[in-house]
Amino acid sequence: MTGGSTRVQSRFRRLLGVVTAAMVAVAAVGCGTGMSEESTGTSEQGEQGPVTLEFAQWWAPELPEGSFQELMTQFESQNPNIKVKLLSAPYASTKQQLVSGAASKTLPDVVGLDGAWVNDFAKQGAITDLSALMAEAQYNEGELASQIKVDGKTYMIPVVNFVYPLFANEDMLSKAGVKEVPSNRTEFLDAAKKISALGGNVKGWALPLDTAVPNGIQNDVMSWLWASGGSMLTQDGKPNLTSPPVKSTVEYVKSLNDADVIAPGSLTMKEQDKVEKFTAEQVGMMIDSLAHITLIKKNNPDLNFTVAPIPAEDAFTGKRGIPYASWGIGIADSTEHKAEAFKLVQFLMSKEANAKLSTLANGFPGNNTAEPDFSKSDPLFKTAFAIYKEGYPANEFVGLPKSEELMRTFDENLQLTLTGKQSVDDTLNKTQQAWASVI
């Protein structure tokens, strides 16, 4: 019996082994078949049935639930042969997925882009030349507020722009004896000193310099330069960090630091910390995205604050640059459906859809003719729109290669200056050298 049982067990094991091997083989073949069928299926569908476009972006999670899908449904009803599959994830996840996708040439058909990524993706050949697609579709480029170009070709179209004005706590200014929101650098320093003098862990300004996401350099440091009409680049696009306007900007930031009006912890402070400190009334002023107005009001409904242009140099009278970030759009170079993908771009940039999306996002439209509906929005958006119209969007990091790395280099050197380990001149010279090797 025992011997028989062992033989039966042995046969069973053999059979199980063979079945397992067969299943693995079938699964492997099946996967291969499935994948190839899927890819060819889409291709065939392109000729015979609806084309499905994959659209990776971080926008849907930041919009009211379901609203972006509604826009896509509207697009699908206008284009019955095109379906859109949204691949939505938070900003940081989307960035990582796109970097990986660009590396492996497996980007989704349509991609949401940040201006900081464009140059690198374009150089990798991961995103396609939109200029050619616009020409092919005879698209009217005049409607576009801006285009992000690399070597003269458009690779990204900003769909919605989010500006970064000065946020000021009016109650705190009033308590500190400051009657008006500061409009120039001297007034700002004075206001920041007076707010800091209020005591109780309150400071005048917040400066996030965390190096993990070093966009504080773009939003909170270079914004002072752009607000005075300055530029960190030469006319031919090379770094110009040793110029007097840039030096004046860094010296001004240092003077704020020396005056002890900056909230402590700035060397590792993140953007969200800055917003939290402003919301919690630990800082009186900050430069921040308009997109955070709703969040601030939700977390502190009693906070009495306003938005204003970023203070310029005292003698400056020209148009002020205002930093911005964009929800940009691009098309993968590897997609087989460029024409269909561009139809989606056209739809999102159309007057109606762009106005609707801008209204939903509390941003400003990428289409010049689109008018966002502020009737149901916070009145501060209308104020900010006026600031935006009076000045010009300025963000010189957009379109630069390795822009995050450029910001980080600047950040690390600025930290040395703020901690007294390096002079302003040394900071600018070293950063200039580092940037010159990249740009």
């Binding site: 693995v24 050949g125 310099l209 390795k402």
Partner: protein
């Protein structure tokens, strides 16, 4: 009766085992590609496939990237030998990252062991009631229940210049002014290490508690009869009995802590002034910020080699056990 019974049950198996070797070789010689011969390979095939796809291929790709010029971002990368390794190994930030990683993982591991053992012994003592031990067991294990993101947020808030820690320390007079724990270059690495110790000790505590509960009370009684006091019993009974667990845990912790990324990224991001830059954050920045995938690969391979040294000791320890 019992031996006879045992013999009866064992003998047929033995007979089968003895009989089988005489026939199967003959069958194998006749049918070398039999189903039976393939069966073992069938069993291991799924695992082999998974390991090959998920480990061998990615590691091989990273190693190959490390010997080429800027891969991925350039369409036609060329072989550059050890140039990327030379670049990484001469980068002052990388050397700083090695130093910081060494301090971070060494202190974390030592503290994990000491705290874990201390708390485990407290929970294993007979001096406390069952209820008290149950309450402390829950309290001590709490840090382990939080995800790293929550740990990072909690400690960022607590270590804020205007946070709870500074408030307490200034109120009781330990500090005169608030300290920027995570933003001050002189304190950031120690603060970060402290957070890592706080979040990681419960795992040690649980493992060592299991080890302590496995030590026979006879050993302690025998030691007590021999006149050993509490300290002598600790060093001559407890530690030798826990030694295999302690060594395995220490080596594993060294490996895990060297791979810590999320906590560092979400608290200091490697700053300020690179004082908390670790090998993990350095590699990440090279790849996803600088788009220098070749140097990132070289850095990753160096980390892999360093980790393999630790893994070697771990495996050797397991074999000895």
């Amino acid at each position: 009766m019992e031996p006879a019974h045992l013999d009866r049950t064992v003998l047929p198996e033995a007979a089968t085992l003895e009989a089988e070797p005489s026939t199967p070789p003959a069958q194998d010689r006749k049918r070398p590609f039999s189903v039976r011969g393939l069966a073992p390979y069938g069993y291991i095939l799924p695992t082999v496939l998974l390991i090959f796809v998920l480990m061998v291929i990615p590691i091989a790709m990273v190693v190959s990237y490390s010997f080429q010029d800027n891969v991925i971002v350039q369409r036609n990368p060329v072989f550059t030998g050890l140039a990327n390794y030379a670049e990484v190994l001469t980068d002052p930030v990388f050397l700083t990252a090695i130093k910081n990683t060494f301090i971070f993982i060494t202190l974390s591991t030592i503290a994990h062991l000491v705290l874990g053992l201390a708390f485990a012994m407290m929970l294993n003592t007979g001096l406390l009631s069952g209820l008290t031990k149950a309450i402390f067991r829950v309290v001590y294990i709490l840090p382990w229940l939080f995800t790293i993101a929550v740990v990072a947020v909690i400690w960022r808030l607590m270590l804020d210049p205007f946070g709870v820690v500074n408030y307490i320390l200034t109120t009781i007079g330990v500090l005169q002014t608030e300290v920027n724990w995570l933003a001050d270059p002189t304190t950031a690495l120690w603060a970060l290490t402290f957070i890592n110790i706080w979040s990681g000790y419960p795992f040690f505590m649980i493992s060592l508690l299991a080890g302590l509960q496995g030590i026979s009370s006879d050993l302690y009684e025998a030691a007590a009869v021999d006149g050993a006091n509490a300290v002598q019993r600790f060093f001559n009974v407890t530690i030798p009995q826990l030694k295999p667990v302690l060594i395995s845990m220490a080596v594993l912790d060294l490996i895990w802590t060297s791979q810590q990324f999320a906590l560092i990224w979400m608290t200091t991001g490697g700053g300020p002034l690179n004082v908390t830059e670790m090998l993990s954050t350095y590699t990440y920045k090279q790849a996803f910020s600088s788009y220098e995938f070749a140097t990132a690969s070289a850095s990753a391979v160096i980390v892999l080699l360093l980790t393999m040294i630790l893994a070697f000791f771990y495996v050797r320890q397991l074999r000895e056990r």
